[in-house]
């Protein structure tokens, strides 16, 4: 079995890695957003697993439609649906935050309609300042106390430091793989990369790091991909369905980098290992490359995106936005002007959480590829 095949085993919601963890009598917590500090959960010897809902059938979300309403994004509707169907029964609880209006209300609807033994929501400030940094430290300290109380564990500084090291290691390894994608002939597709990141969010992190190191070594020795038509950057929110990237890559667009929740915005920034661990966690999570929900950080997000476009030699950008997403519609509206000014071609795709209508998407991506080829 190749390393990639081993990692792929961790992609389904309930997977052998999680089962083994549970068989050891240990707890698993589902979480919803890149602002949730996984390190604190991991330091409690609890496995943090990013909640996804790819097994949900598009358009088949009666519970989600009724409670989240039909004008909520399909990711939240799918999650509520699966929660109601007990498809997250491998979770001992969920942790969410007020990352967006729909995610915070998903948390409420889960509590009321499909509850877990444990729920927690972290109030992440909507802007970044010295004052909000202090507050966020208070928020995550309360979360730590809640875990300690509910799961009867003690989260020492030593455990936190160890968790930070483990998660930083993942970040470093992922960054090394991303660096390989800067090459003219990158050794990995965007589809494969997304699968790796998804796997990392669904398995014990030290085991993920072990496999990731092996994967990195394999990729370093691998002959790169040269038969692509254009180098693509993907920008947007929650996308864990590799079928979307496969459509793009089957048409010759090689995804070389991203600014996504399951991508650079998740792992790019390290936690300072020389500081008090809770302070360092707070600083990293509030100051990391921000989601559009963070007011005042748009200039930083743009700079980050432009830096990646340059470093990864991107030919064109594909914006992907889940239908009814407030944050990303506004963000793309602003980014559009920037890319026009910079003369960078882009395509905007409105999508549902789970791929549907691949035909229409193929037509639009094919047309975009032709534009990119003509620009060369």
């Amino acid at each position: 079995m190749t390393v990639m095949e081993k990692l792929s085993q961790a992609i389904p919601l309930a997977n052998p890695w999680i089962n083994n963890w549970r068989n050891e009598g240990k707890n698993v917590l589902g979480y919803f957003c890149t602002y949730i500090p996984e390190e604190i959960i991991y330091a409690a010897d609890i496995l943090p697993v990013r909640v996804r809902a790819r097994t949900c059938s598009a358009g088949d979300t009666p519970m989600g439609d009724a409670y989240m309403t039909p004008t909520a994004c399909s990711f939240t509707r799918c999650c509520l649906e699966l929660a109601n169907q007990n498809q997250y029964d491998f979770l001992d609880g969920i942790v969410s935050c007020n990352s967006c209006d729909q995610i915070r209300r998903l948390y409420d609807n889960i509590r009321f309609k499909a509850p877990f033994p444990y729920h927690y929501i972290i109030g992440v400030p909507g802007c970044v300042s010295d004052t909000t940094h202090e507050w966020f430290k208070h928020e995550i300290s309360k979360f730590k106390e809640s875990l300690e109380k509910n799961f009867k564990v003690s989260i020492s500084d030593e455990k936190l430091k160890k968790a930070i090291r483990v998660y930083n290691k993942s970040r470093e390894l992922l960054k090394e793989i991303y660096n390989l994608r800067k090459h003219d002939n990158p050794p990995i597709t965007g589809t494969e990369m997304l699968n790796i990141i998804s796997a990392g969010m669904s398995m014990p992190r030290d085991q993920f790091n072990y496999l990731l190191s092996q994967q990195l070594q394999e990729l370093k020795e691998k002959e790169g991909i040269s038969d692509y038509r254009a180098r693509i950057m993907i920008v947007g929110s929650m996308l864990d369905d590799p079928e979307y990237l496969k459509v793009i890559e089957d048409l010759g667009g090689l995804v070389v980098v991203d600014s996504q929740c399951l991508g650079t915005r998740y792992f790019w920034d390290l936690i300072d290992e020389n500081k008090n661990p809770m302070d360092a966690i707070g600083e990293r999570y509030l100051s990391k490359i921000a989601c559009p929900r963070m007011a005042g950080k748009y200039p930083e997000r743009v700079d980050f995106m432009m830096k990646l476009i340059k470093e990864f030699n991107v030919d064109g950008v594909i914006f992907q936005r889940i239908k009814f997403c407030i944050l990303w519609w506004a963000e793309i509206f602003m980014l559009r002007n920037k890319l026009k000014d910079e003369g960078i071609p882009f395509l905007e795709l409105e999508r549902e959480y789970v791929l549907s209508g691949a035909g229409a998407m193929k037509t639009r991506v094919e047309a975009f590829m032709e534009i990119l080829e003509a620009n060369k």
Binding site: R105, K113, I326
Partner: protein, 438 residues
């Protein structure tokens, strides 16, 4: 309004106000013409002067600060800034159907669509594109209750290059009896209030006059007290005021909190309610049904509530904005004044009910229904209002299960008459009231 007063205000609307104030002028003239048929009460005077104050600020080079509907502008007033509540446009233009051309322009610009982004903020994007809305000198917003505010102000900033300040609003309660109590929340909000003052001082190159600040907060308190007493009077059966009355108090607090005008206006309406109770006058004669309306009004249809009153002898007691829960506070020291600003932010209409866990909104609905002896709840939910729409069903279930009161929920765009028409809305309400309630 007598002829002389009407002519005086009409005259002030003559001549060019400049292209960027052309929509503002349209609203002013529309307002004066509507008010001509009404008594010249403190509300009419307050709003007429509000329009003129912005015009004068432009002429005199006095800074205008734009902010959303969820903040009392007292601090701005204490710093001699001219407050401009952004939603004055979307709410003010809706009955004239004048939002709609600007919504269409915004659509063409690619800034969202109706079910995704709230039209309380979108029309002004189109108006900026056309150059017919005033660009402020400063902007302020809180990212609560909704993402639409956060994103729209970032977009405004990109379109106008105007600097802004954001104050975070936490998820928790400051009431010790609340299950979501956090002991540090007031300190946090006070610190942020001081950060805001520091920013305003820097941007306007002036210091906050602390004595004036305290005086302003005393006026805030007086108006809050009037609103509190008014809302208590509405518990009377029959309700002493017609359906829209509470919303007027909200507009006073959201645009003029901290002024003598807001004190006069809120006192005027409180006294009227008290007098009506004394005289046995009901807002809706022979009141049969008392309706809770825990969301905003449908702003494009000013005839809807009178139609409900006439057709069903039903009174809509308060909307979510008129249900103004900000209490008066001790403002005997400057530090207490900061606390009062902080609590005002946390408790403000819709912020207090929607900034935290669903229980905030559910408890609001339960208390509203109990306290005001409500017979039915109607929630005309803005399609794009993700934070509220997604908890209405669990709130309605709680109200039905705990109090036996039915709820009608339907999607609508309160700012655009084309999405769900008045006829459709009336049909839904009619069916609900006749088949379920009466």
């Amino acid at each position: 309004m007598d002829d002389e007063t009407y002519r005086k205000y009409k005259k002030l609307g003559r001549g060019s106000w400049g292209k960027d104030l052309s929509l503002w002028k349209t609203m002013y003239l529309g307002f004066i013409n509507l008010a001509k048929e009404e008594e010249f009460n403190p509300f009419v005077e307050m709003f007429a002067n509000m329009f003129l104050r912005v015009v004068n600020a432009r002429k005199e080079g006095k800074p205008i600060i734009m902010y959303p509907f969820n903040f009392e502008p007292a601090l701005f007033i204490a710093m001699n800034l001219t407050p401009l509540m952004q939603e004055t446009f979307s709410v003010g233009l809706a009955p004239l159907k004048l939002n709609e051309p600007y919504i269409d322009i915004t659509n063409k610009m690619g800034y969202g669509d109706t079910p995704t982004l709230c039209n309380a903020q979108r029309p002004i994007v189109g108006a900026y594109k056309q150059g017919v809305a005033p660009i402020p000198d400063l902007m302020f917003f809180t990212p609560t209750p909704c993402n639409a505010i956060t994103m729209s102000y970032q977009v405004f900033q990109q379109l106008t290059d105007v600097p802004y300040f954001t104050m975070d609003v936490p998820y928790w309660a400051y009431d010790q009896l609340n299950e979501f109590y956090d002991e540090k929340i007031i300190d946090y909000m006070v610190k942020q209030t001081k950060d805001l003052i520091f920013w305003l001082e820097k941007e306007t190159n002036q210091k906050l006059d602390l004595e004036k600040f305290q005086q302003t907060m005393k006026l805030v308190n007086e108006a809050r007290q009037n609103v509190l007493e008014f809302n208590e009077l509405l518990k009377n059966v029959p309700c002493p005021m017609p359906s829209l009355a509470g919303f007027m108090n909200f507009t006073a607090m959201a645009t003029h909190s901290g002024t003598i005008e807001a004190v006069k206006a809120t006192k005027y309406i409180r006294d009227e309610a008290a007098e009506n109770i004394k005289s046995g006058i009901a807002g809706v004669p022979d009141e049969k049904v008392r309706i809770a309306w825990p969301y905003t009004h449908i702003f494009f249809d000013v005839d809807l509530l009178p139609w409900i009153e006439e057709t069903f002898q039903a009174v809509v007691i308060l909307d979510i904005l008129g249900y103004y829960p900000v209490l008066p506070h001790d403002v005997s020291t400057i530090e207490k004044c900061y606390e009062s600003v902080a609590k005002g932010v946390l408790d403000f209409s819709m912020v207090g009910t929607c900034r935290g866990n669903a229980e905030f909104y559910i408890d609001f609905c339960l208390n509203y229904v109990k306290d005001y002896k409500i017979d039915a709840m109607i929630i005309p939910m803005q399609f794009a209002c993700k934070h509220a729409y997604a908890i209405t069903r669990i709130a309605a279930e709680a109200v039905r299960e705990q109090l036996g009161i039915p709820t009608l929920i339907f999607g609508v765009d309160p700012y655009d008459s084309r999405e769900v028409t008045s006829e459709t809305i009336k049909a839904k309400i009619s069916e609900f009231l006749t088949q379920v309630v009466l």
